[in-house]
């Protein structure tokens, strides 16, 4: 750690605008109280959790099954939303058509709609019988059962994370240098060749970020999933639900153990996101939310 250059850096970057202290103080205190403290409370819990609790939690068949379900569905849904996200971002940023603004606005639905409401809606759509079945019946007749299965979980996760990849890709597509594409055209590249050799490398930071973010979001999702998944232990039960159940049974240690694992994954995904944003020097943080 070099101290002198940092000192001169600080001097050079002395604020010319007032208000540094009050705003920083407020921000730090706010973040400290509202975000850091709760996180710390959980992290400190790890001391309280005895090794046998860890062992019991992590070797429980039910927990392991839930982990498989959660990770599997999250990865699958992140993949699906990445593909859909690429399609939507492409269409929104490169074409002109009536309804373009509407399409873009519709993408925010998962951000505004409460997860519980989403869960309820999906339950209604994919229920197999009853007066309100929309897609459930027809899908069942072709052998696809959505409700009460991991497929239902994936559907719920896709709903919740749909805008993520699109928003991550849109700024990058917008800033793509059109003369570079022209050069590709003139040099004889076909549309596919241009897509794979020019666009995909340019978009890859956003693709990675979008996938990671969608994965993390899907992993932690609760409200949208529990109404459609059926929550059958060992089959369609997700980790957040197990944490909630343990909490209801006052098994704080067990709940914390699982929560710590989820927290570690959150941190890891944040690191990946921040690192790739820095590495490629793109302003991807616009597309983060």
């Amino acid at each position: 750690m070099i101290s002198t250059p940092i000192k001169s850096l600080a001097r050079r970057r002395a604020p010319s605008l007032p208000g540094l202290v009050p705003t920083t103080a407020f921000s730090v205190i706010f973040l400290g109280l509202v975000v850091a403290l709760p996180v710390l409370a959980l992290v400190v819990q790890s001391h309280v959790i005895t090794p046998d609790v860890w062992l019991k939690t992590l070797t429980s068949r039910r927990v392991l099954a839930a982990m498989r379900v959660s990770f599997g569905t999250s990865a699958a849904s992140a993949l699906v939303t990445s593909v859909i996200g690429l399609l939507l971002a492409w269409v929104l940023e490169r074409y002109r058509f009536t309804g373009r603004r509407v399409l873009d606005a519709l993408l925010d639905i998962p951000l505004a709609l409460p997860t519980a409401v989403a869960g309820l809606a999906l339950a209604a759509i994919y229920a197999e019988n009853g007066s309100q079945s929309w897609l459930g019946g027809p899908l069942k007749s072709i052998g696809l059962q959505v409700a009460y299965t991991p497929l239902g979980i994936i559907v719920a996760q896709v709903f919740v994370t749909l805008p993520v990849q699109t928003r991550a890709l849109q700024p990058l597509l917008r800033q793509f240098d059109s003369t570079v594409e022209d050069a590709g055209i003139i040099l004889g590249a076909s549309p596919w060749q241009r897509f794979w050799r020019l666009f995909v490398p340019h978009l890859s930071p956003a693709l990675i970020c979008g996938f990671t973010q969608a994965f993390a979001r899907a992993l932690g999702e609760y409200g949208a999933i529990i109404f459609i998944a059926g929550n059958l232990p060992g089959y369609s039960e997700i980790v957040p639900l197990i944490i909630a159940t343990k909490l209801e049974q006052f098994d704080y240690a067990g709940a914390s153990a699982l929560a710590l694992i989820m927290l570690a994954i959150s941190f890891a995904s944040l690191l990946i996101l921040n690192l790739s944003a820095k590495n490629f020097g793109n302003r991807l943080k616009e597309g983060f939310l």
Binding site: T23, I84, Y95, A112, F227, P240
Partner: protein, 304 residues
Amino acid sequence: MKFDASLGVTPEIGAQVFVGSPRIAIKRSTLWFRRSLIGLSFAVVGVALVMPIIAIFGAALNHGFGTYLSSILNAETWGALKLTLLTVALVLPLNTLFALSLAWAINKTRVKGSTWLLILTDLPLTISPVVSGLMIILLYGQRGWLGTQLHALGFDVVYSVPAVILGTLFVTVPYVAKQILPQIEAQGTQLEEAAATLGAGGWQIFKRVTLPSIRLSLVQGVILAAARAAGEFGAVSMVSGHIRGLTTTLPQHVEILYNEYRFTAAYSVASILTLFAVLSLAVKAFFASGLEPAPRPNDPSRRA
């Protein structure tokens, strides 16, 4: 010279200069490719995003408008609505204040360690709401850190309204900030510095230069944060006492109704939240600055 402006097909080679020339065949395939992509996009968004909204209203109105109204207009729903509104009213100003402070500290005055502040701000986004709720309980619960102190003072935070507010606060911290930070960063400090040289004080600069420049993103951020705060479910489920009419928010209320097999009632209450969400989106779209105008007709970036 005819070209289909509504589909963004530009006067490309052959398409309009020489109508009827063999090149039209090739251009048509690009046209159809585009059309199908656009159609596919609408289909996907329609099924994935719009259908659920319609389904809510469909299920709510399943047994007629009268049943719908009676499901909404009762004491329990009203209590839940009040709690939801209270939560939003408390959480929004705090988060907005924070977002503005953070934006100023990071971008206008270049405080060091901003990366950590940003990471902390982003953190709630990546944490499962269930885990967030657990954190609140661990902190404020009767055996928690602050909880034990508060209990001694006679305050029981968890399983009561304050817990709901704290949980929602945690979850919505990033929302306003993420909307305004990119724009503030992109704008730099030139305008504010100019104002400073002209003799304006800190607060004046903020009020008359900075704030107006981020008006749109601020409004959008606040709207999204409000929708999120009203709809928070996972974290609140953990910390609320599920005491009907007292500590249930609207989403809680919906869940309770659903678990009691009172489906129509559940969907009816859900429709209130859905309406709120749709309205928020409409207002946000009205203030839209996010989507740039599409490429000009002859902008090169309109191949395939």
